[in-house]
C-alpha cells in the first residue's frame, strides 16, 4: 500500500498499525512520543528528530535520509540499517552502531557515549562526522573511501587506520592524531573547520610566535596560537604587562598581545598552587587587573564580589 507522508504520520502518531506500507515522500515524525515504530515501513525519507524512540524496527526501509537527531533515548539500531544518509546528532544514549550499517553520510556529532563500531559495515563516498564523540578511541578498519572525515573534538583518538582515504578533507582539531596514514597522503587538513597546513597540524613545536603574529588569516592565527599553546606563545610574542600581583601560587601577571585585525589576546599567567605548573588562561580583552581576570574566570562580573579565602 502506498501512503502519502501526511496520512502515514497521522496513523503512526495515533498508534494505528499500518501493515506493509510505502511512504512516497518525507515522513515527518519529529518529537514522536512512541518508543518504537510499526513494522513494515518503507519510506523515502524519515525525520524523527527529538522523538522518544528507543530503537527502530528490524524491517525498516529508508531510501534517502534518516534523521534521528536529539533522540536522547535511542539505545540501539537494527542490524543492516541502510539509508542514503543517517543523522544521529546528540543521540546521547547510543553506545554502538549496528552490524552491517550501510550509508554514504553518517553524522554522530555530540554522541558522547558512542564507542563501539560493528565488525563490518559500509560507510563510504560521503561524509563521516564524529564531532565531539569523546568516547571514540579508534576507527574501524573497514572504512575505505570518504569525501570528508570530521574527527574534531574526538579527544580519545590517536590514529587513523591505513586504508582509509578521503577525496577532500579530514578535520583533526583537538584529537591526539599526530600523523596521517599513507592512504591519506595529500588529504586537506582542517583543525576545527579551519584549513591548516601539515606543519600546524602535526608539528606545532616548529611554530614561532613571529610567524604566528605575521599570519594574516585570523582563523588560522587562532589555530596556530592554540597549537603553540598560550603559554609558549605569550612568552615568545613579547607580551605587554598590564598588571601583576601575587596569589597563593606565587607571582601572577595579566598579559596582552596585539593581533592584526582581531581583538587583542589578553590572559592571566599564573602558577597552580597545587602542582606548581605555570598556566596562561585567556580572558576577555577588556580586563585590566589580575584580580578582575581571576574573578571573571570564577564567574564574577563584578570583581569586588570575588573575595576567595584561598585559591587552590
Amino acid at each position: 500500500m502506498v501512503l502519502a507522508p501526511e496520512e502515514a504520520a497521522k496513523a503512526i502518531r495515533a498508534g494505528r498499525s499500518l501493515g506493509s506500507v510505502h511512504v512516497s515522500g518525507r515522513l515527518d515524525l519529529s518529537s514522536f512520543a512512541g518508543k518504537n515504530l510499526p513494522a513494515g515501513l518503507h519510506c523515502y525519507e524519515l525525520d524523527a528528530r527529538g522523538a522518544a524512540l528507543v530503537g527502530l524496527p528490524d524491517d525498516l526501509r529508508i531510501d534517502g535520509r534518516l534523521v534521528l537527531n536529539d533522540c536522547r533515548n535511542l539505545k540501539s539500531l537494527p542490524a543492516g540499517l541502510t539509508a542514503g544518509s543517517i543523522s544521529l546528532r546528540d543521540c546521547t544514549a547510543l553506545t554502538a552502531l549496528p552490524e552491517n550499517i550501510n550509508t554514504w553520510f553518517l553524522d554522530l556529532t555530540g554522541c558522547n557515549r558512542f564507542e563501539h563500531w560493528p565488525k563490518a559495515g559500509t560507510i563510504h563516498n560521503g561524509s563521516l562526522i564524529l564531532r565531539n564523540c569523546i568516547n571514540v578511541r579508534e576507527l574501524p578498519p573497514w572504512i575505505e573511501r570518504l569525501a570528508h572525515l570530521d574527527l574534531a573534538g574526538c579527544v580519545g583518538l590517536r590514529e587513523i587506520p591505513n586504508g582509509l582515504a578521503v577525496s577532500s578533507w579530514v578535520d583533526i582539531g583537538g584529537t591526539g592524531i599526530s600523523s596521517l596514514p599513507p592512504s591519506m597522503a595529500g588529504a586537506s587538513l582542517r583543525w576545527r573547520r579551519v584549513p591548516v597546513s601539515e606543519r600546524i597540524a602535526f608539528h606545532p613545536e616548529q611554530l614561532t610566535a613571529q610567524e604566528t603574529l605575521a599570519e594574516r588569516n585570523a582563523e588560522i592565527r587562532r589555530v596556530m596560537i592554540e597549537r603553540m599553546g598560550y603559554l609558549r606563545f605569550s612568552q615568545e610574542a613579547g607580551a605587554k604587562l598590564l598588571d601583576e600581583d601575587r596569589d597563593s601560587g606565587g607571582a601572577r601577571q595579566l598579559l596582552q598581545i596585539e593581533l592584526l585585525q582581531d581583538e587583542p589576546l589578553v590572559g592571566l599567567s599564573c602558577v597552580c598552587p597545587s602542582t606548581g605548573r605555570q598556566y596562561f588562561l585567556r580572558v576577555p580583552p577588556k580586563m585590566t587587573t589580575c584580580h578582575q581576570a581571576a574573578a571573571w574566570m570564577a564567574g564574577y562580573d563584578d570583581p569586588s564580589l570575588y573575595r576567595p579565602q584561598i585559591e587552590t
Binding site: 523515502y44 531510501d63 534517502g64 569525501a147 577525496s167 577532500s168
Partner: protein, 406 residues
C-alpha cells in the same frame, strides 16, 4: 581529416566544419540552417596543415563545440533530427554568466522571436509569449496562435513574464499556473510539442527569486512527446507527479532550490532522462538542501541514460565536488557541470581525483574561485575543461557568491 562541429547556447547555434586534404584545409562555418562561409588555407607541407588543423579543433572544443554526429545534430539542417529527437547539445541554454541577464536568442538551436498575431506565422523559429507594458493579457495571443494550422506542428515554445496586470501593480503574486493551465487546455492544438521554456525572464524584469512558479507536472501528463522542460524560478516550484516516459531533459533554474524539488527528482520516473540541469543556489534564496539530499541521485541508481549532469550555482560546490568524485554516476555520464557556483581550490583538488578512462569527457567549471595554478592542473586532465571566469569577477572580496545571488 574531416571534422564537423556544432555549438549552441542561449544566443546562437553555429556550425564549424574542417576538411583537410593534403597540404591545405577548408573551414566552413556559420549559423546552423545557413550555408555559411568558407575559407581555404594552404601550407608548405601536409604535416604543417595537419598540425594547424588539430590545434584549431582543440581550440573549438575548448570553447564548447561538440562533434555534430555524436550530438545527433547535423550542421546543415535545423536542430531537430529526422526522427524528431532534439540533439543533446540543444538542451543546454545558458553556458556563461553573462547570458543569465539576457533573454534567450535561441532555444533548441532555433531562433526565438516574440509572437506577433499581425504577422504571418513562421515555422523556422521558436515563438515566445510574454506580457508587456502594452497589453493587460497575461499571455497575449496564445489563444490566437493555438487556432493557427502551424500550432499543430509546433515543437517548441518559450514563455517570458506572465504578469499581465501585475505590470500595473495589480497582482504581483501571479504564478506560472496561468501558463500551465493555458497549455494544458490547449494541448490538443499542440500535439508535437517537444520543448518548453517557462520563465525566460531576466533579472531586470523580475529577479529569479521573485518569479512565482507552480506545480509543473500537469505538463508531463498533457504532452507525451515532451523531450525538454526548462523552467526559471524556484518560489512555488513543484513537481508533484514527476513521471514522463519520454522526457529527455529537465532544467530547473532557481535562485535557491527547495529540498522538496530535489526529493521529487530523486523519486521521479523519467526512464529516458539524458540531461539534468539543476541550479541549486543559495540559502539566502530559499535553498535548504545539503549534499546528503543529493545522495539518491549520486548513488547512480537513477536515470540509466543520463549523459549530462549539471549541479550549478551551488553554494556548496566544494563539498559537493568531494562526494561527486566518489559517485558511481560519474562512471557513466559524459558531462559534469559545476559551473556558476562557489568552487574553490578545495573542490578543484577533489576534482583532480575524478575517475578517468570512463565515459566522462567534459567538465564545465565556468565562473569559479579556483587559482591559476589549480586551473593548470585541471586542464592537464584528459578531459575538455572549461574553467573560464567572467572578466568582471571579484575574487578579492572575502565573501564568495554564486552567479545568481547577492
Amino acid at each position: 581529416m574531416k571534422r564537423e562541429l556544432i555549438y549552441m547556447d542561449a544566443k546562437s547555434s553555429k556550425f564549424w566544419n574542417i576538411d583537410q586534404v593534403g597540404n591545405s584545409y577548408t573551414v566552413k562555418y556559420g549559423r546552423i540552417g545557413t550555408e555559411g562561409q568558407s575559407l581555404t588555407k594552404s601550407f608548405p607541407s601536409e604535416e604543417a596543415a595537419t598540425k594547424d588543423a588539430v590545434l584549431l579543433i582543440k581550440e573549438k572544443l575548448g570553447k564548447g563545440y561538440v562533434d555534430a554526429a555524436a550530438s545527433g545534430a547535423s550542421a546543415g539542417s535545423a536542430a531537430t533530427a529526422p526522427d524528431g529527437l532534439i540533439p543533446l547539445i540543444a538542451f543546454s541554454s545558458i553556458n556563461h554568466r553573462e547570458e543569465i541577464g539576457q533573454n534567450v536568442g535561441t532555444f533548441i538551436g532555433k531562433r526565438v522571436t516574440d509572437y506577433d498575431p499581425e504577422k504571418p506565422v513562421k515555422t523556422d523559429v521558436v515563438y515566445r509569449f510574454r506580457s508587456d507594458w502594452e497589453t493587460n493579457e497575461v499571455i497575449p495571443s496564445l489563444e490566437k496562435y493555438l487556432t493557427t494550422n502551424e500550432a499543430l506542428t509546433t515543437t517548441a515554445i518559450v514563455f517570458g513574464a506572465w504578469h499581465g496586470d501585475a505590470w500595473h501593480g495589480d497582482d504581483p503574486e501571479q504564478t506560472a499556473e496561468v501558463v500551465v493551465d493555458a497549455l494544458v487546455k490547449g494541448k490538443d492544438r499542440l500535439p508535437q510539442l517537444a520543448a518548453l521554456y517557462i520563465g525566460d525572464i531576466t533579472s531586470e524584469e523580475n529577479e529569479m527569486s521573485w518569479i512565482k512558479q507552480c506545480d509543473l507536472s500537469p505538463l508531463f501528463k498533457a504532452f507525451p512527446k515532451l523531450q525538454l522542460l526548462r523552467a526559471r524560478g524556484g518560489d512555488g516550484l513543484q513537481l508533484t507527479v514527476p513521471q514522463h516516459a519520454n522526457l529527455r531533459a529537465l532544467a530547473l533554474e532557481t535562485g535557491g532550490m527547495d529540498v522538496g524539488i530535489i526529493r521529487s527528482i530523486c523519486t521521479s520516473d523519467f526512464p529516458n532522462l539524458e540531461y539534468l540541469e539543476l541550479w541549486l543556489g543559495t540559502e539566502e534564496y530559499g535553498a535548504g538542501y545539503t549534499v546528503a539530499d543529493l545522495q539518491p541521485l549520486l548513488s547512480g541508481k537513477l536515470f540509466p541514460k543520463l549523459k549530462y549532469l549539471g549541479l550549478r550555482t551551488c553554494q556548496l560546490a566544494d563539498e559537493l565536488a568531494g562526494v561527486l568524485v566518489n559517485s558511481p554516476l560519474l562512471q557513466r555520464i559524459e558531462t559534469l557541470d559545476l559551473s556558476l557556483g562557489v568552487l574553490t581550490d578545495e573542490g578543484a583538488r577533489a576534482l583532480l581525483l575524478l575517475p578517468l578512462n570512463t565515459t566522462l569527457k567534459k567538465l564545465n567549471l565556468h565562473y569559479n574561485y579556483i587559482s591559476a595554478d589549480m586551473i593548470r592542473q585541471l586542464k592537464a586532465l584528459p578531459l575538455t575543461v572549461d574553467a573560464s571566469k567572467p572578466s568582471n569577477m571579484d575574487e578579492e572580496d572575502e565573501s564568495r557568491f554564486v552567479a545568481v545571488g547577492e
